[in-house]
């Protein structure tokens, strides 16, 4: 089930009403059932897969509590089951093809063994979430839970199941275990968040998508047209993914849950490291806590750890070389930026005006989006070697036209940055502080504006959220 469907609206109203009427235990059972219906709406078998990996992890964590001497083995069991499922569904065909290609290059021609399995939506998200619980129990950061029901709800909680944020047990599971409250102030902010999420998806992302899709369908676009397409994709993926997160957070808020923030105005990043503190925050933190730091973090072979972490992060996004290159590009950016920062202070990045650094990071990140969007390596190479000097004046105007289309639809994103910064100077959370009729009126007008924007500028040709594919 997708958020932008009437089915979800009906589904959510039923869930919301039930949660208002049921006590905690039955409420959690109901939420678990609803989450499985949400996930298995199109492919019921996927819900079975989710239950399988969750139950293995739950049992492994319980086993750690009962038999601490076998902790390590149980951790390995959990990792193998999670990563095994992920590898089978997501990476098997990729590796099989890569091996066959390598053998072919060595003179042994073999047909790759391909499973051709459909990738269950959100598998990368929920396996990482479930795995993080087992690791946290292994480390002793949290106790192993006794309630299978609550644990299954933690891994399958429908607002964030398919495309995150990747929650931690310490945050979400503890909310599942205690009674939730409905606060009308919080609900007000939730409605605004949901509306904003829909505007991001249906107005901004879905209007940027056709521009990007048309340009990336060209055999060899000129330099300005290509980069207009990359810009369009940058806008699309940000609005699409953060829109999903906003709807997820808003839905969860109405049910009394607080889901972590996944984006914090990534366009304001003034260094590659800062970008990863603002973009897909839950994944960045996951890789930091479960890959980068265990590898040695800053203390030991720092550059190797960074490179490896980002390669894995790229690979997490998809079983394709372009995602690995995308991860490598970001790893390289971080390493290069650190080297620059450690150089002579008078030449360091901090000497540049912040606005300049923001623009520079914006450009570098968008070069990365080219790797992310272009799945064909020969085309990627052609794009990277396309010279701006070969473009005619008309090409530049055409590129400007394509970019201007996207920029106009992306204007609300820029206004949001300004509005958010203005609000932050006034309160930590608008929901708790901005009370009274004056603020209420302002929020109501804002909601009405968002709703009208949705009706008047939505692109009816909508598509699935991009991150469903991961």
């Amino acid at each position: 089930m997708v958020f932008h469907s009437a089915a979800y609206l009906v589904f959510f109203l039923i869930v919301f009403t039930a949660c208002r009427l049921l006590p905690l235990g039955p409420q959690n059972w109901f939420l678990l059932g609803a989450s499985l219906v949400f996930y298995g709406w199109v492919h019921p078998v996927w819900a079975g897969l989710l239950l399988f990996t969750s139950m293995v992890d739950f049992s492994a964590a319980r086993g750690m509590a009962r038999h601490p001497q076998h902790k390590r083995r149980l951790l390995i069991l959990s990792a193998v089951s999670n990563l095994g499922v992920l590898c089978t569904f997501k990476y098997f065909d990729f590796f099989s093809t890569a091996v066959a290609d390598a053998l072919g290059a060595a003179g042994w021609s073999v047909n790759p063994l391909l499973l051709g399995l459909a990738l269950p939506a959100g598998i990368s998200f929920y396996t990482f979430q479930s795995l993080s619980y087992v690791v946290d129990v292994y480390r002793g950061d949290i106790p192993a839970r006794r309630s299978l029901r609550d644990y299954l709800l933690f891994t399958s909680f429908f607002p964030q199941l398919v495309a995150g944020p990747i929650e931690r047990a310490g945050h979400l599971l503890s909310q599942i275990e205690r009674p939730r409250l409905f606060d009308v102030r919080i609900a007000r902010s939730a409605v605004l968040l949901i509306l904003w999420g829909f505007v991001k998806k249906l107005v901004i992302a879905d209007n940027a998508a056709p521009v990007a899709n048309r340009i990336f369908a060209l055999e060899s676009p000129s330099f300005p047209v290509l980069w207009a397409g990359v810009f369009a994709f940058g806008v699309q993926i940000y609005a699409d993914f953060s829109g999903y997160t906003d709807i997820a957070r808003g839905s969860a808020r109405l049910l009394g849950f607080d889901i972590c923030r996944n984006f914090n105005h990534p366009w304001l990043a003034d260094s590659p490291a800062n970008f990863w503190q603002r973009w897909h925050i839950s994944l960045s933190r996951w890789f930091r806590d479960y890959v980068y730091i265990p590898l040695g973090g800053n203390r030991h072979r720092h550059l190797r750890n960074l490179a490896l972490t980002f390669l894995l992060s790229g690979f997490w996004h998809g079983a394709a070389w372009n995602f690995i290159l995308w991860g490598a590009w970001h790893g390289l950016l971080l390493i290069a930026w650190q080297a620059w920062s450690r150089g002579p202070a008078r030449l360091g990045p901090e000497r540049l005006p912040r606005m300049f650094r923001i623009v520079l990071v914006f450009v570098l990140v968008h070069i990365g989006w080219l790797f992310f969007r272009e799945h064909s390596l020969p085309h990627l190479w052609r794009h990277l070697t396309t010279s701006p000097l070969a473009a005619s004046a008309t090409d530049w105007h055409l590129g400007l036209f394509c970019a201007a289309q996207v920029a106009l639809f992306a204007l609300p994103l820029a206004l949001h940055i300004a509005l958010d910064r203005w609000l932050v100077t006034r309160a930590a959370t608008t929901a708790r502080t901005f009370t009274g009729w004056r603020w209420s009126l302002a929020m109501t007008v804002l909601a009405a504006l968002l709703w009208c924007l949705l009706l008047l500028y939505r692109n009816p040709t909508t598509s699935d959220f991009i991150y469903f594919a991961f």
């Binding site: 102030r185 008309t394 090409d395 009706l455």
Partner: protein, 348 residues
């Protein structure tokens, strides 16, 4: 009640209700489309397309989608099939529901109706009437509908069309949103005209840059993939009106004295020149052919033609531009036998 409410003053509940209600009330205040009796679901009828075809007083109409658009050289075909007068009614991405509307609301409505309607299709297209009826394609389909056709559309769409668009559209027709989005594109065009270049120059450059031949092979033709991905149940021939529109095609054609010719195009072949096939497809095609012939219609199939090699194809099942004239000659030769009047031998 465990999801209890935090105690708040009554006015805060009132404020929350206001937040929920005001946007919905705003919807009622938004400007609406002017009343248009011919518009179905806010989409105007393709009157221009109708007039273009009707004024030719065609003996033969060709109906279809990009399979037809990327194959037939229209002027050449008109010469090759003379003295038969021909006309085309096409819509890229359309499927059997739109072809039915093309037959009923265009061809059968012409005065006089044509003697023959040739419908271009691929493999199982007639078995999936709900294909390309949702979202953008559904709105495009409405441009071929007359008031009163909505019931059939709804019946065909069934549960497929239950997404957010249907209820958003009820609040604010898509055509209106489109016109506003087009205004934004106009602004973008103005922004791009820095220097001496005119809007027309940029528009012309846009047409050239995104020309069909500039696209990568295989990126545009999702229809072929959809056709291949059908489940087994939909690969069995039936003329049940609950399942597809075949009986409706026949009823309209019979009522207006139109002979139908279903023209099965050759899907993209492999390097050996063979189009994808399966026992189900062979059986289905034979059953469809028999059904048509029983009713005085005809099925013409180019699938086994060895002259249509991979080299002639551009992307997916579409032919390359350079192949259009050759294909048109082959087609005229093949279709000549079913023309109302045998084509003149020296027409070219």
């Amino acid at each position: 009640m465990i999801l209890q409410s935090v105690s708040r003053p009554a006015r805060e509940w009132l404020q929350f209700l206001l937040l929920l209600l005001v946007p919905l009330v705003c919807t009622l205040l938004l400007p609406r489309d002017p009343e248009d009796g011919s518009a179905v679901g806010g989409v105007a009828f393709e009157q221009e397309k109708y007039d273009d075809a009707a004024e030719k007083r065609p003996d033969v109409v060709f109906l279809g989608n990009s399979m037809l658009n990327t194959r037939a050289d229209r002027k050449l075909l008109a010469r090759l099939l003379a003295p038969n007068r021909i006309a085309f009614v096409t819509a890229g991405g359309s499927r059997s529901l739109v072809w039915y509307f093309m037959l009923k609301n265009f061809a059968a409505d012409f005065k006089p109706p044509p003697k023959l309607a040739v419908i271009f299709y691929r493999d199982f297209d007639f078995n999936v009437p709900d294909e390309a009826t949702g979202g953008k394609r559904g709105r495009e389909a409405r441009a071929f509908m007359r008031p009163g056709d909505e019931a059939l559309m709804a019946e065909i769409q069934g549960a497929e069309y239950n997404d957010v668009e249907s209820w958003l559209e009820a609040l604010e027709p898509e055509a209106y949103a489109r016109s506003r989005r087009e205004k934004l594109l106009g602004i973008a065009l103005s922004l791009a005209t820095v220097g001496r270049v005119s809007k027309l120059d940029i528009q012309a450059a846009h047409e050239v840059a995104f020309d069909f031949d500039k696209l990568r092979p295989g990126v545009m033709d999702a229809g072929g993939l959809a056709n291949d991905a059908l489940d087994l149940d939909r690969k069995i021939f039936t003329d049940d009106p609950q399942e597809n529109l075949l009986s409706r095609f026949h009823s309209v054609a019979a009522a207006h004295g139109i002979r139908l010719c279903f023209f099965r195009v050759k899907r993209r072949p492999d390097a050996a020149g063979l189009a994808p096939s399966s026992p189900e497809l062979t059986r289905y095609t034979a059953d469809l052919k028999a059904w048509l012939e029983e009713r005085g219609h005809v099925l013409v199939d180019e699938t086994d033609d060895p002259r249509l090699t991979l080299a002639l194809y551009h992307d997916g099942d579409h032919l390359a531009k350079f192949a259009m004239s050759d294909w048109t000659r082959i087609f005229a030769e093949r279709i000549g036998a079913v023309m109302p009047v045998p084509p003149a031998p020296a027409a070219e």
